[in-house]
């Protein structure tokens, strides 16, 4: 049947339908490359999974390894475990021992500190003048009363000759190798000993040859002129402490009280200049 023309001419009425949202359309052809961020993430995830799988499979392989199988089923395993346990225990014990050692070392350090302090205190007490004097008295020395020290003057030429003679004699008799040293710079050492020699004559004081020699030797070997040694560095006759004209106040090697003013040290030599 042919439809009526009106109906044929009339526009076709579309039923009213809501427009469906446009979904992604499937596109044929090769897949487009994925966005880079997503791709890296997925690759990393795939890589991690691969690594984990590989690890698991590796462990599986290890667990099923023939050697391990033999090891576990055999008695060697017991030995290895025992060795490991003993090793761990030994390690722990060693660590404990080490720490204990540190503790002991610290205690030792403290003990040494105590000893050091005690020795410092003792040293200081022993160096006290009163203690030195008492010890000197025990050794038969007599303390020279303050103010009783006297200085003698020497005459120039006669005393020098006498001193040189005394020194030579003393050096020969004692056979000291340094005798040559004492007599070689005769002019200088002789002058220094002049004062010492002069001790016997004008004041009636006694001065031993050895003390004179000690003075002269000191001045000669120290390279100082005899005049300065005698003039600037009076030497106690018994203590025979080495004298040097360079013994200034700034030096820290000053002798103790008794060394300078020890027994018999009341007479000191000096040049007359």
């Amino acid at each position: 049947m042919t439809p009526p023309p009106a109906a044929a001419a009339a526009p076709a009425v579309q039923p009213h339908r809501p427009l469906a949202p446009r979904g992604p359309r499937r596109v044929s052809g090769p897949a487009r490359p994925a966005r880079p961020a997503d791709g890296a993430r997925s690759r990393r995830a795939a890589g991690d999974a691969g690594f984990a799988l590989g690890l698991i499979s590796g462990l599986e392989a290890l667990a099923q390894h023939r050697l391990l199988e033999r090891l576990i089923r055999g008695r060697t395993w017991i030995g290895i475990v025992a060795f490991a346990l003993i090793g761990i225990v030994t390690l722990q014990l060693g660590l404990l021992k080490l720490n204990g050692g540190i503790g002991r070392a610290l205690e030792h350090e403290a003990a040494l500190q105590r000893q050091n302090a005690a020795l410092s205190i003792e040293n200081s007490e022993l160096a006290a003048g009163s203690h030195v004097e008492a010890r000197a008295a025990q050794l038969g020395m007599a303390f020279v009363p303050v103010g009783s020290l006297r200085f003698l003057s020497s005459s120039s030429h006669g005393d020098i000759g006498k001193a040189a003679a005394v020194l030579s004699a003393a050096a020969r008799s004692s056979g000291v190798a340094g005798g040559e040293q004492a007599t070689t710079p005769s002019g200088e050492s002789g002058e220094s000993s002049a004062g010492a020699e002069a001790q016997t004559s004008p004041e009636g004081e006694t001065a031993t040859a050895s003390s004179s020699q000690a003075t002269a030797e000191t001045s000669a070997t120290s390279g100082q002129s005899g005049e300065s040694a005698a003039g600037e560095a009076p030497v106690s006759t018994e203590s025979s402490a080495p004298a040097s004209s360079e013994s200034t106040l700034s030096e820290s090697t000053a002798p103790s009280a008794s060394a300078v003013t020890g027994a018999g040290g009341g007479v000191q030599a000096t040049s007359g200049e």
């Binding site: 404990l96 720490n99 204990g100 540190i102 503790g103 610290l106 403290a110 500190q113 105590r114 302090a117 005690a118 410092s120 205190i121 003792e122 040293n123 200081s124 007490e125 160096a127 006290a128 003048g129 009163s130 303050v146 103010g147 020290l149 006297r150 200085f151 003039g231 600037e232 560095a233 009076p234 004298a243 013994s247 106040l249 700034s250 820290s252 090697t253 000053a254 002798p255 103790s256 009280a257 300078v260 003013t261 000191q268 000096t270």
Partner: protein, 553 residues
């Protein structure tokens, strides 16, 4: 199931039960009682130990230790933890060196903490700790010990219970000497043995300080001052021995003596270092500076002659010489040797107020010397603007102004060393590093200084005010001083209270040693500088000169 299998099953079951029991116990200890056990372990096994720093030592110029630190412990108690106080007190008392009843009283206190002993020497402290009395504990500290007791006690100073310097060098150099305490983290096992030790902060020991003092000269100087104290019963006395060439202090002594190991036994006045902290009117010892100024200005010569009556009128004051005499003629040298007040005033007036004031300042009066000691006074020197009409009748003879013993010694050093005023110093090295000698500046010419030295020889020569003092072989020079003190009640000069002093050096031609002795208010015997202080100077110098191997001259 074979019997073997049953037995294996039985053993397995047994072990399983044991495992369950162990697991249960672990759960109980770890979860239920974990908190309290962790706390207990922390207190019993983990400790933070303080590691006290070793305080630097102080030694003399020869290395003799004058102050050292030794390990010690503060012993404390928690009284409520001490179960048998009586028994504990019996055991502790002899080790603590305290009466038993006192220890018992301390242990019975209603307190959570009490110190039984502070800084107990380590040996005794170990004995105390070995008793293992519950509630008694020890904390490591350092104890300051002064091996020579009274030697230079006021110079060295004291250290408090917390280890900080309270006076003297211990105070002024506390930053150097103190060091830094450390801390240690210690893990102990069940029997108290340390199993792990970690240093949280390592301790830093203090730096040692070496002084210019010489222990032997210091000792002798203190002995001499003690003798002065016995004979003249002064209020106090001080003496300084120094090398005038470098300003190095070789001895600085004070009387009454103080035991540095027991400072609490002394009065606060005795603890003061009067060499730097005592302001006094110097009296005639100051005349040397009056003459020095006039000499340097060319106003007088040693031989210049002055007409000297018995007294002189200055404004409203009449000043007499010490001894009555008729009108006479004295040279400048004789004025110094005989310590003529009238002569010194005449020379001062010749200089004029302004110049006189200038010379006083030039010699360092009215300001600190700069020595490394705390508590140094600056004295009191009136400026010219404050001079009254009678000031020039007072100041040239050393009255009306205040100085310190160290200022006087320092100024005399300038005369002794050829005219250079050098700041005195007492520290020789720090941590082994030598300290530079302070630089000085010229105040008078070497010729003026030489003239003065020659004139000051006359003081110890026949006819001088200290003619009885001599040391065989050595030519001495110096000046006596007997200064009236101001009576605080009347504001006038006292007729009974004096300061006797002597400043001197030797050998006069080339001085290498200077000694100042100041005796405050001698009560018995004499009051004059020539008879009280000058002999002490002689005794100190007669020891120190040969001891230091200073050649006669």
């Amino acid at each position: 199931m074979t019997i073997v299998q049953r037995r294996i099953g039985g053993i397995f079951g047994l072990f399983f039960i044991l495992l369950v029991l162990a697991g249960g116990r672990t759960l109980y200890l770890g979860a239920l009682k974990g908190g309290s056990l962790r706390k207990a372990a922390a207190t019993q096994q983990l400790t933070y130990e303080a590691v006290p720093a070793q305080r630097g030592s102080i030694s003399d110029r020869s290395g003799i230790d004058l102050a050292v630190s030794e390990p010690a412990q503060d012993i404390s108690a928690t009284p409520y933890l001490v179960k048998e106080p009586l028994v504990a007190a019996q055991k502790l008392a002899p080790l603590l060196g305290k009466p038993q009843d006192r220890v018992l009283r301390e242990l019975s206190e209603r307190s959570g903490f009490v110190y039984l002993a502070r800084a107990l020497p380590a040996k005794q402290a170990h004995a105390v700790m070995a008793l293992k009395i519950p509630g008694v504990a020890g904390a490591p500290v350092m104890k300051r010990v002064y091996p020579r007791g009274t030697l230079a006690a006021q110079v060295l100073g004291v250290v408090g219970t917390e280890g900080n310097g309270l006076s003297g060098l211990e105070y002024s150099r506390n930053g150097l000497l103190h060091g830094q305490a450390g801390q240690r983290h210690v893990v102990s096992d069940a029997i108290g043995q340390p199993v792990s030790i970690n240093e949280v902060h390592p301790e830093e020991p203090g730096t040692s300080v070496s002084l210019t003092l010489d222990a032997n000269i210091q000792q002798r100087t203190e002995d001499v001052l003690s003798a002065v104290g016995r004979v003249f019963s002064p209020k106090d006395a001080t003496a300084i021995v120094m090398d005038p060439r470098s300003g190095a202090i070789l001895a600085m002594a004070n009387w009454p003596q103080v035991n540095a190991n027991d400072p609490a036994a002394s009065t606060p006045e005795a603890l003061e270092n009067r060499a730097v902290g005592f302001d006094y009117e110097p009296g005639s010892t100051f005349k040397a500076f009056t003459v020095a100024g006039a000499l340097q200005q060319g106003l007088v010569k040693p031989t210049s002659s002055f007409y000297i009556p018995d007294k002189i009128q200055v404004a409203d004051r009449t000043i007499h010489d010490d001894t009555e005499h008729g009108d006479e003629s004295l040279t400048t040298a004789q004025i110094l040797a005989q310590s003529s007040n009238v002569g010194a005033i005449k020379i001062g007036m010749l200089e004029g107020q302004s110049n006189f004031s200038k010379w006083v300042a030039k010699f360092g009066f009215g300001r600190r010397t700069g020595i490394e000691l705390p508590g140094e006074e600056i004295g009191q020197v009136p400026p010219v603007s404050k001079y009254s009409g009678s000031s020039m009748g007072n100041l040239p003879i050393g009255q009306g102004q205040l100085v310190t013993p160290l200022q006087m010694a320092s100024a005399y050093s300038a005369i002794a060393n050829g005219g250079i005023l050098r700041p005195p110093h007492i520290i020789r090295s720090v941590g082994g590093e030598p300290q530079p000698v302070p630089e000085g500046h010229r105040v008078i010419s070497s010729q003026t200084a030489a003239s003065l030295r020659q004139m000051l020889e006359g003081v110890l020569a026949p006819g001088g005010t200290a003619s009885e003092v001599s040391i065989p072989g050595y030519q001495l020079a110096g000046k006596t001083g007997t200064a009236s003190k101001v009576d605080e009640a009347t504001g006038e000069y006292s007729k009974t209270r004096y300061v006797a002093s002597f400043m001197g050096f030797a050998p006069a031609s080339d001085p290498k040693l200077l000694c100042a002795v100041i005796v405050d208010e001698p009560q018995t015997g004499s009051i004059f500088g020539g008879t009280v202080a000058a002999p002490a100077f002689g005794q100190i110098m007669s020891f120190a000169l040969p001891y230091l191997r200073i050649a006669p001259g």
